[in-house]
């Protein structure tokens, strides 16, 4: 029986433990693999046996690869969870922060911040959050009509908002001619190569409270999926909970975007795969998305920096190459 009190907790623990182990393995792989040295031994030495370690290799592992792997894990966790929440609230399995244009809105805010010469935190992050929230409410207003075509019109609205955001970003870039340009370019495809440990720490400090809050509301999300009216008659304050979830999620997404730019489709791929395997109970899905999304992003970033023979490509290229075809597949399935 899967559903006694102890067993729902057991299930959450079991799924989380498995995914946590996977995440750790993947992070170790990300620490071990790279252009200078490959192998787990230098990783062990860098952490536990400083006297045997090669100083250069240790520095690469601790100061380049570690912050980057941790940043990737946080970004993947936040984007997956963002997708999961949007899918639940908009009751649309195709909703995702990037597809809906929330990421684009955050990026515009962030770019404006950089052009105005603000520091990354709090200036750029705050503007990025504002941009995300504005797009979010635009999307919610567009999608709250009583149209039968709601599902498709929501996606279309997202695509349009996204194109608009891209145009604004391009406009901003073409108006600038100085060195800040390089800073802005990396927003476009999502890039984790600028990770440093302080920045990762600040992001973690923003994201962890959001994760906890969303987990606490996970059972309410289950009930929200039965429809607004059912949820109301089952004792759920629909408005308050929806608003809390939307704002929390936008905060997560914009904090992520202001750190690593536009990484698309993670919020589509991970919740979808996990839902296939684990069912629809969000009390299980929320922790699973955090850990599984983290692991997925670490792998994507590892691929981004090891696949090209020279240099590297933005991580967003990998996520889009995996995510976009899956999106089309899902769209086709949902029409059938």
């Amino acid at each position: 029986m899967p559903l006694t009190r102890s067993s729902i907790i057991k299930r959450i623990m079991f799924v989380s433990l498995i995914l946590f182990i996977i995440l750790i393995i993947v992070i170790l792989a990300a620490l071990a693999i790279g252009s200078t040295s490959t192998g787990i031994k230098p990783v062990y030495q860098a952490f536990f046996a400083h006297e045997d370690a090669d100083a250069m290799t240790s520095a690469i592992i601790l100061h380049l690869r570690l912050p980057r792997a941790l940043l990737a894990a946080l970004v993947g966790a936040a984007l997956s969870l963002g997708g999961l929440v949007f899918q639940a609230i908009l009751r649309n399995p195709l909703a995702e922060p990037y597809i809906l244009g929330i990421s684009g809105g955050s990026a515009i805010g962030a770019i404006l911040g950089i052009l105005m010469g603000m520091s990354r935190f709090p200036g750029v992050s705050l503007l990025s959050f504002t941009g995300g929230i504005i797009i979010l409410f635009l999307i919610v207003i567009i999608s709250s009509g009583h149209s039968i075509l709601k599902k498709d019109s929501l996606l279309l609205a997202g695509v349009m908002v996204n194109s608009f955001c891209s145009a604004v970003i391009m406009f901003l870039i073409s108006m600038t001619q100085d060195s800040r340009l390089h800073n802005i370019m990396f927003w476009l495809m999502g890039d984790l190569s600028l990770a440093d440990i302080n920045q990762t720490g600040i992001l973690a400090a923003i994201l962890f409270p959001c994760f906890i809050l969303i987990f606490l509301l996970s059972n309410s999300m289950n009930i929200l999926l039965l429809g607004k009216e059912m949820a109301l008659t089952m004792g759920i304050s629909v408005k308050a909970i929806t608003l809390t979830l939307l704002i929390t999620t936008s905060l997560m997404v914009s904090a992520t975007v202001s750190n690593c730019g536009l990484v698309g489709f993670v919020g589509l791929v991970i919740p979808h795969i996990l839902r296939l395997g684990l069912g629809s109970d969000h009390r299980v899905l929320v922790p699973a998305c955090i850990l599984g999304g983290g692991a997925y992003m670490v792998i994507c970033d590892l691929m981004a920096r090891t696949l090209p023979e020279q240099g590297e490509m933005p991580a967003g290229v990998i996520t889009a190459m995996i995510g976009a075809p899956l999106f089309i597949l899902l769209l086709k399935k949902s029409k059938a």
């Binding site: 006694t4 009190r5 109301l232």
Partner: protein, 267 residues
């Protein structure tokens, strides 16, 4: 007798459209109360106001003699459960997961269920005869099965009042009778007050002990099936002629539609 729902001078507007006009009635505890009326007469609006989905504008509603406004959402969810016409299956829960959600008004934020909640959920599934579907997914079931599971969820919510919005609308004959029988058992064995919207006047006549006929937002008639289902009432509300006789089984009033070709010009 105590009243389950008492409504006093209720008015409701959508923008400038006057949907409910001076509604005034009482549902007694243990009633099988059925609301009938033409499309657009305000049936669904009325039931949504009672369910606390639509905010009251004018008038007063009392649930067990306490003002509806004095109930918190959670408290109201322990008194009134709703069975909708259908529920989306975009996010497929298993039957057991869905029925257990009925316990949420009694549980904490995370809805962690105890052994006792599981027992109540199983009993509800057994009562509605769908216990063998327990581990199936909602989106793999037929309309009739889903409807019974939604009723099981409402039973699991352990409320004294259950509201139903046309629960038989999309079902075939066998399932219609099954759902109605089930609601009657619930009313008689568990003393649950049933308030139901029905588009089927004959089902209403067979099961309801009190009927409310709504006409354009006003109460056209209220009382026993025999009082409400008269030629005059129905002709006036629905705007068509009907033939009323007695159902040979159980002597309920039976409303027959009459095709235009059999109606002689009276002039």
């Amino acid at each position: 007798m105590t009243s389950a729902i008492k409504i006093k001078n209720l008015d409701y507007y959508y923008d400038n459209y006057h949907v409910l006009k001076n509604i005034d009635f009482t549902v007694q505890k243990g009633d099988f109360f059925i609301i009938i009326g033409p499309n657009g007469s305000g049936k669904t609006t009325l039931i949504k106001i009672i369910a606390g989905i639509f905010k009251q504008q004018k008038g007063n509603i009392f649930v067990f003699d306490k003002s509806l406004k004095s109930y918190s959402r959670k408290k109201l969810a322990k008194k009134i459960a709703l069975v909708p016409q259908m529920v989306s299956a975009d996010f497929p829960f298993t039957v057991m997961e869905l029925v257990l959600m009925g316990r949420s008004p009694y549980l904490g934020l995370l809805g962690l269920d105890k052994q006792e909640d599981l027992k109540i959920a199983k009993q509800a599934l057994f009562f509605t005869g769908v216990e063998e579907l327990m581990n199936r997914r909602m989106d793999h079931l037929s309309g009739g099965e889903r409807q019974r599971i939604l009723i099981a969820k409402a039973i699991c919510q352990e409320t004294e009042i259950i509201l139903l919005d046309e629960p038989t609308a999309a079902l075939d004959l066998a399932h219609q009778i099954r759902i109605m029988d089930l609601m009657e058992q619930l009313q008689q064995k568990k003393n649950v007050t049933i308030i139901m919207i029905s588009h089927d006047i004959n089902l209403a006549a067979m099961y309801g002990n009190r009927l409310l006929l709504l006409d354009n937002g006003k109460i056209a008639s209220i009382g026993s099936p025999a009082d409400v289902l008269t030629f005059k009432n129905l002709e006036k509300t629905y705007g068509c002629k009907v033939l009323i006789d007695k159902n040979p089984v159980g002597q309920y009033p039976r409303v027959n539609l009459v095709p235009q070709k059999f109606i002689k010009e009276s002039k």
